[in-house]
């Protein structure tokens, strides 16, 4: 994982023939953004990782917007307006997908509730069983 992350900038440079931007801050933002956008032509990769036609055009667009002074948010919104949420590799929170985000938590709470009920039932059963045994004992003695 660490190795992959370390290799990523090198790979990106190998695929992206454009020279780095003169401003290192802009270059960092550009690199960050292109690693967040999905190549829709190839679908498994970011636009930073492929020489596909689509990725080349999107990289150029991001580069131009960064140089022109657009914020990261504006670049993301520009892409979402045209291609939809799917272009973002890290999906945004929205009402429509909120259940996806909440589902793991709900499952966890549900699981804990079920486990708690089962354990309590078992303890109660055990208690009544013991009580039965005790009363049997008493009956036997009398």
């Amino acid at each position: 994982m660490v190795v992959t992350l370390l290799l990523m900038p090198i790979l990106a440079m190998a695929i992206d023939p454009a020279p780095p931007l003169p401003d290192p801050v802009q270059q960092a933002r550009y690199t960050g953004l292109i690693h967040e956008l999905r190549c829709l032509q190839c679908q498994g990769e970011t636009v930073a990782d492929t020489p596909a036609l689509f990725a080349v055009d999107i990289r150029r667009q991001v580069r131009e917007m960064v140089v022109a002074g657009s914020s990261d948010k504006e670049v993301r919104q520009y892409m979402v307006d045209r291609y939809g949420q799917i272009i973002l590799l890290r999906p945004q929170w929205s009402l429509a997908n909120s259940w996806l985000w909440l589902a793991p938590g709900l499952f966890l709470v549900g699981g804990i509730l079920i486990a708690w009920r089962v354990l309590r039932q078992r303890r109660e059963l055990l208690a009544t069983d013991l009580a039965d045994v005790e009363s049997d004992d008493e009956r036997g003695r009398s």
């Binding site: 829709l40 689509f54 055009d57 150029r60 045209r82 291609y83 939809g84 949420q85 799917i86």
Partner: protein, 176 residues
């Protein structure tokens, strides 16, 4: 209550959910266009067949328009070409070509060999108009209504089947 009832109901719900999702997922339309229901992006681009002239998308206002994104490098475009010619024959829509990341000479050759289904062809050499239209490959085909709203998009080939099943009902439904 039977102790299997709850898991069974949960399982049945999952089956229904997956079933619906599978049924509703149209093939190849993995990326639903974000632009459906939105105003079609405007463009002014060079005209492929008339040197020095431009194609202005404002010219299509008031008519049903099909915008077909194509390139000579695209195999599926060749496959759908015959259908496009038929749609032109039918004469129900204005057909606009968006020649995407192509060579002018190759594109002209292609049209003189295979026939020209388009009223006009705009040249998008750098793919900038394509980004505005949310295009990520070719062929892609948009249906724009007379008010200038994108009402449908097909990624991949236009076929006689999807033309009849998806495009025509929208055009004819609005005419009624």
């Amino acid at each position: 209550m039977n102790k299997f009832a709850l898991p069974l109901v949960a399982f049945a719900l999952l089956v229904v959910m997956f079933g619906v999702a599978l049924k509703r997922a149209p093939d190849k339309q993995f990326v639903k266009s974000a632009l459906i229901g939105k105003t079609a992006p405007q463009f002014v681009l060079p005209d492929l067949l008339h040197d020095g002239k431009t194609v202005d998308s404002h010219a299509f206002a008031g008519r049903w328009t099909v915008v077909n994104v194509w390139g000579t490098w695209c195999g599926e475009c060749r496959a759908e070409h015959a259908t496009l010619l038929q749609i032109k024959q039918e004469g129900k829509v204005a057909m606009v070509g968006l020649n995407y990341k192509d060579e002018d000479a190759a594109a002209r050759d292609w049209l003189s060999q295979l026939g020209n289904p388009y009223e006009v062809i705009a040249v998008d050499r750098e793919g900038r108009a394509a980004i505005d239209w949310g295009v990520y490959g070719a062929p892609e085909t948009f249906l724009v209504n007379p008010a200038g709203t994108i009402v449908h998009k097909v990624v991949g080939q236009v076929t006689a089947e999807n033309w009849r099943a998806q495009f025509l009902p929208l055009i004819e439904g609005a005419a009624k």
